[in-house]
Symmetry: D2
Subunit: 452 residues, 4 copies
Amino acid sequence: MYPQPAIKRPKTGREVKTEFLEFFPGIHRIEYKPDTPFSSENGLFYRYYNASERIHGRTMEDWLRPAIFLGKAFTPNLYSCIKPWNDNSQTLDNYKKGIRAMFELCIKLGVKYWAGYDGDLVPESENFDENQNNLEIIINFVQEYQQKTGIKPLWFGADLKNNSRYVNGAFTNSEASIVTYAGYQVKQALQIANKLGSECFMLSPFQENYGSLLNTDLTKEIKHFAKFIKTIYDQKEKIGYNGQMLMQTVPDEGETTGITQYCRDFFSCTSFLKQFNLDKYFKMNVKPGHEFHMAKLYGLLGSVDVKEKDLLDIKSGIYLLRTVVENGGMAPGGLTFYLPSHNAPFDPKDLIEGYISAIDNYAKSLRIAVKLVNDAQLNKSIQMRYLSFSSGWGARIDNSDISLDDCEEQIKKQEIHSFPQPISSHYEHCLMVVTRYTDTTLKNIFEIEKRD
Amino acid sequence: MYPQPAIKRPKTGREVKTEFLEFFPGIHRIEYKPDTPFSSENGLFYRYYNASERIHGRTMEDWLRPAIFLGKAFTPNLYSCIKPWNDNSQTLDNYKKGIRAMFELCIKLGVKYWAGYDGDLVPESENFDENQNNLEIIINFVQEYQQKTGIKPLWFGADLKNNSRYVNGAFTNSEASIVTYAGYQVKQALQIANKLGSECFMLSPFQENYGSLLNTDLTKEIKHFAKFIKTIYDQKEKIGYNGQMLMQTVPDEGETTGITQYCRDFFSCTSFLKQFNLDKYFKMNVKPGHEFHMAKLYGLLGSVDVKEKDLLDIKSGIYLLRTVVENGGMAPGGLTFYLPSHNAPFDPKDLIEGYISAIDNYAKSLRIAVKLVNDAQLNKSIQMRYLSFSSGWGARIDNSDISLDDCEEQIKKQEIHSFPQPISSHYEHCLMVVTRYTDTTLKNIFEIEKRD
Amino acid sequence: MYPQPAIKRPKTGREVKTEFLEFFPGIHRIEYKPDTPFSSENGLFYRYYNASERIHGRTMEDWLRPAIFLGKAFTPNLYSCIKPWNDNSQTLDNYKKGIRAMFELCIKLGVKYWAGYDGDLVPESENFDENQNNLEIIINFVQEYQQKTGIKPLWFGADLKNNSRYVNGAFTNSEASIVTYAGYQVKQALQIANKLGSECFMLSPFQENYGSLLNTDLTKEIKHFAKFIKTIYDQKEKIGYNGQMLMQTVPDEGETTGITQYCRDFFSCTSFLKQFNLDKYFKMNVKPGHEFHMAKLYGLLGSVDVKEKDLLDIKSGIYLLRTVVENGGMAPGGLTFYLPSHNAPFDPKDLIEGYISAIDNYAKSLRIAVKLVNDAQLNKSIQMRYLSFSSGWGARIDNSDISLDDCEEQIKKQEIHSFPQPISSHYEHCLMVVTRYTDTTLKNIFEIEKRD
Amino acid sequence: MYPQPAIKRPKTGREVKTEFLEFFPGIHRIEYKPDTPFSSENGLFYRYYNASERIHGRTMEDWLRPAIFLGKAFTPNLYSCIKPWNDNSQTLDNYKKGIRAMFELCIKLGVKYWAGYDGDLVPESENFDENQNNLEIIINFVQEYQQKTGIKPLWFGADLKNNSRYVNGAFTNSEASIVTYAGYQVKQALQIANKLGSECFMLSPFQENYGSLLNTDLTKEIKHFAKFIKTIYDQKEKIGYNGQMLMQTVPDEGETTGITQYCRDFFSCTSFLKQFNLDKYFKMNVKPGHEFHMAKLYGLLGSVDVKEKDLLDIKSGIYLLRTVVENGGMAPGGLTFYLPSHNAPFDPKDLIEGYISAIDNYAKSLRIAVKLVNDAQLNKSIQMRYLSFSSGWGARIDNSDISLDDCEEQIKKQEIHSFPQPISSHYEHCLMVVTRYTDTTLKNIFEIEKRD
């Protein structure tokens, strides 16, 4: 599908340098130990994720392309009291500590990508020039750590959400000055993405919405948005940044908020992009589930956000990775994991255990998904289901021009006219297949290891 | 927008012929009596709906184009024990009674359109030829009543939902014989729509969905669906039927059912239609709300379903009709009212009161919507909100090609660099305007009448 | 129901003292002007709320008992850039400005109550003693303004939500030190409520929840919570505070958060209180809707939160106030209005318009609710619906001991055994009655005024 | 907890008698084969459910007490076209076939209980006496099969839902005749439950709700309901039936239906029962999740419905069975499985595979739950979390009377006053423990088997 970028693996081996024992002390590289008995005292290993193991023609790392999200755990915020990398101050030093902690976590997890927004990198300052200056300092700091570790962004984007200036929209704001500033912020973010070698650039239309039809000029707002999407793409070309452009969906939280999103899901985004002929510039960043599969079908599969209940959901993982495998991978996108999944205080060890569980869930899912893809019996059973389209009149439906008159002719040529009968979709059987593969896959892993 | 079809009004006057006093005895034509004091004993009049009154350059009837849905109240079903037009038998005669009752209700309400599916017209029979025969008898029966009353369908469609053969899909079924039968059923429905002079033809993809990704070939199913949409359009052209083709959206009922809809909302339908270049053949039939306004924006406004909580919601009505007025009407579509909104036994009088309330709600909404459209102050306030785009740099955003570098230049040319400031969207003010217009409009109506 | 506390009205008259023209300049007392034509330029009057007007034996003010919530609009927070009472600093002075602005708004709206939490009064400080000191200064400041204006709290409570120490529970925390501090905080809040003459004391169990069954001792947490509820009540008695104790419900936000509330709605609270025999100490603070009516039925009606879509919902208002009228009022509780209903920047004028709209909505609702209560026809129609219980066997069901054998006897004594027939509930009629009263009530108001 | 009723196991062995090879031909008893390699061709075995295996002091069968629900799959209904036990006719013979098929399924699955309503046993007839007669014939037929197989009802109840007479309520209906008939129907159902030796009797308040506050006398309806609950209990005592009385919860489907349930969840039921002092007569039948655990805490744990997404959810199963194990079982209640989970046509093999998957999911859950209960490390970690309550002041909170003044004293006696610090709840760790146990448990099973 996409040419797979070559990723330099950091030196293997269990221990990490002293420099990276600052925030998760006593924890070295997480290793793949499928056979270790589990006790609730020690879970600091992968049971399924073996980054360099080839499976279905590619390494597990190439299939998953996992990334750690910067904003949730490493940016100084309210619920930070027991994180060693956060003294609650809005200072450059405190932000730097968070960034160092993130790189330390990446190294220990064996993850090659981080992901985040400009707004997660520097303290909020009301002084424009100070803010610019801070950003420059931090970007150099990040770049230095990237060179030291070989880790880089899966995606980078402009945070057009968390500052109150955007609450009534970034590119759909009613104030030209705010729209202009959003444009400038994205310009800078593109430069940063380019400088840091980010695989993708993320456009997140979190605040592209309206509160009331009464005071909103929908046509104007959408036109502005479309114009800026094109302008952003042009800028990317101009500066020679060759990352993939992504657009994220923003779920509408029901009608209770009184706020309506323009880009609430894969379909509203796609309709919008197609309407303005912008769908060739962007791919979609979605969540696991129906929209992900439709994105593949429409050729717009970009990248995936894994958060909340999806983090540990084996079914989400299996369905997702079956589609990824059938798609031949999803590079330059990947799986961005958002942890922690709550807003309560957490220990560094909790965080690393959360990441291990989530990555292991998707590694297990990958192993099962590959079994499903390769299961001749299952594939045959799907073919059987649509067998009536493989020859005769059914094949004509599939492949030729037909008319409704042809349909009538087919029905009327029966000697005794009758209604067609429905058949079972074998739904329960399919669910059983997934469950049984989950169980059996585990078993096989254990057995294989025993033999070695 | 559309050329407005001429509708012959039935003779005015309060009394209806004896023939139409069968199912709602003692009830004659519902009149517009804005000034009648209300008692809970007598509500059989319109307070706002005055069909022939011209408002904003068109009659109220032309703006609303109300239609009565056949299926919910008039097709024999379970909760029917106290409807005089239903003896619970699955006979042609019982279906005919329901149809007569519907025409009687239309006459009394002064409504020119009915709407429904083929499946609502005849009893389910397992004998193919008997079923065909019954359909022919009933269509002639309906046609006779249409000629007698001047009432005709706003839309007609094939019921591809309620028979168990379609439970795993009509055009997305895995069985060619079922897909074929669906094609034949739509062919017949198109002929009926043509014969009955239906303004529109409705395609309702209720069962176009899947239960499990594991046993479903999404690509094949969607391809079949797209092919049949085109084939249906071709058939319409072939038989010379010139009604508008509509596509209805089918809300996904969450993940609890284990069933995922292909066409869950306006955006998924639109994405699908655009993907296969089918969007020029269909307009969308949606519900009031955000999707309705987007349909207008995308030029795909077809018709509206008014059901459940929308029936009596004044805010839904005002926002909807403001857009309809700005759109210059929505013919050949209109407002289809679905009553009753529950599955409990109802008296004929309950049903007619339900329809009066719903139509009156949308008539009241129309009167208020027109005020909003004409309110110079409100329009000025919207213009003021976007004032920054009307000259200088803002106008360039609106009208010319700009680049992100231009944005930067704008910001950097300030003598002291600063962040833009957000402004209030005056959300509370807008809501107050709607509320106050609701109250004042009523008052004005009463005052005008007093003067006469 | 409750003895109605005497409230001193501030001097009437349109103008307010210069002292109270600081934050809403140019705006004086909002007057009742039912007859003023509306233009979207000027909405600063009540059309329905006439505080001193007697209706159904009591003033409108006595029925509604409206209160302004301090926290949402007057406590310094993020979205504050254009509020004149907020310079974004976490200083005592900035908090004092917010409090002054709240009193100014109360005076202008003619509202006698405010409501809020200790946490909304002072800046967050990590220095314990400074925090104590600040609180004392602010309470004296509030008390001074209360004396000057005659305004006092409808309810006061301890904010056991917004500090990160409570994120895993206040009284259900796993740390004794946090439980203890919560106890101390409530002790202080009770003293403040007493000092400020608060009508009620609010217990808001926002954080009484758990994240995972695996690490939670439900039995212990619930036992602690019950013990503290009793302890809080004892403290109230000990200090001689005679306000009503209220408990607020905390909606569970679905399973997506991974957090489960112990007190998610009226019923979970009530079950809990009854389980520990605590229901005699507390009444419930709920939202409009089903739970409100059940609270009345169970004799636990305390007070009401009006927020978000309920603010302008006429149906919510009518149903609520009909129950309030039937209950003979709800003092010492009342209606707490939470505005603004969004997190976007707002002008002071937006805020006052939002409050006018919301109070007017409930005043209009009161006028309609009284009509419904007095409608002999409607009351008769309800009696008719249950007529079968007023004599004979039906009356025995209502009033005497019966057995299932008696039921059998009733059925078997029919000469021809038959099934009972359902009847219509006249649902559509009831909805029409409400709608029509809404319209007619307005009309009557206008007519009455015309005659005067 | 409860004395465990002795259940006679039918003879073991693989083959079943010819009589029971009618509807699932070629399928004999489903055996426990944990070690069989899975292919999607053959899944007709249990991998985890070994009915007679003792685990944590009791057989798996005793822990789970699985039951098959009659209504969903075996009562003739619309989506029945390919079930060999249903010719679509509303005849006694067709109902008998469904019942025979259910017993055949029970035998093959090794399940000792069925569950269902009177309404699922006989065709709907409008002739009262014929209906009575049919019911008698069928009950004798069921009894005969029960004796032949040793299978009996886990619970039996009156279907007060599916007949249109109950649409506005059974015991909360406004018509005395309908309330009376409901009473008679329950009387008969109690007799049947007694005759068939049902472990429990189910009261399902599906239709105990209201559509509009305007036409409803809530007080009267609730009073009637409470009276009948007591009357039903009295009848049970009178006839000497000693099954457990259960009450089922009825989820409210949101406000869209316009219908509000009186008994929408565990808490509304419990509040109601406690209000009328009826909680000593009933236990609750709930779904897996929070309400289940609260039911245990409140001592009202009755029985569990397993349907839809819970059928194959391992997390639902683990949390549920951990509580069941801690509770010492839940007899005389058990797990009622509702299959299929959709309304599409299904093959008999699909149905049996669905049941195997669901029972196996709960058997797997049981094995994992027992591990969790016995994990000293996990138990210690929970104890550690609440350690601060085990001595000193914390123990006083736990065990003695304390006052808020005591809390203040504790805080003030610190030399330097400070705020308490929150601690991590180790949420991620807990989730990892569950996941890892799921994986490891499987491994252990396989290893154990290998050794044998």
